[in-house]
Symmetry: C2
Subunit: 110 residues, 2 copies
């Protein structure tokens, strides 16, 4: 299974959260991402390192473009030399299959 080749589908309210078991399996396909909990919702998080601020901001823009293309938007924290990306699905309060796909696509950009 290659997540980055999959398509992110429109997520409606009431769509299923991934089960704990599926989350574990999917996480193994994107091993650089951690599942963190924030405001009571599980999120996928990865920190990407860069040699300067410009490199970080450029990556932020590439992730932003990916987000717009897929109509699914992450939280992107841009700092000097690093970008922290979080994917989750606000509408369903946690992790959808889409989030794992977007995380894999983000890895591809890096």
């Amino acid at each position: 299974m290659e997540l980055h080749g999959m398509k992110c589908e429109a997520c409606l309210t009431g769509a299923p959260l991934v089960t704990h078991e599926d989350a574990d399996k999917l996480n193994k396909l994107i091993p650089d991402w951690n599942i963190v909990e924030q405001e009571g919702m599980k999120r996928l998080e990865r920190v990407f390192k860069f040699p300067d601020f410009a490199g970080a901001l450029d990556f932020t823009n590439r992730v932003g473009k990916l987000a717009e293309e897929n109509n699914h938007h992450p939280a992107i924290l841009t700092e000097w030399g690093k970008v922290t990306v979080q994917w989750w699905t606000h509408k369903i309060g946690g992790l959808h299959m889409n989030d794992f796909i977007m995380a894999a696509k983000t890895d591809e950009l890096f």
Copy 2:
């Protein structure tokens, strides 16, 4: 006193933190910013709202350009419809006069 017209000066290790009293006075000049504490360091924080993701990302880039021009870099959290900016001076572990100047310049961009 107009902060946004002032110049952000190179900040060396050992440069003075603003005093609690000065921070209060300076904060009155940029009333939309809150002083928050993170990892034991005081930071200036403001949330800017936008109608969509593209507007938020565009603002992130404008703040990034301002940061590069002044060689002083904030944390910029980009999300759908909002950007959270934090200014502080890592080198001295808190708030320098420069941070208040950069906050005022960020307000000007908005």
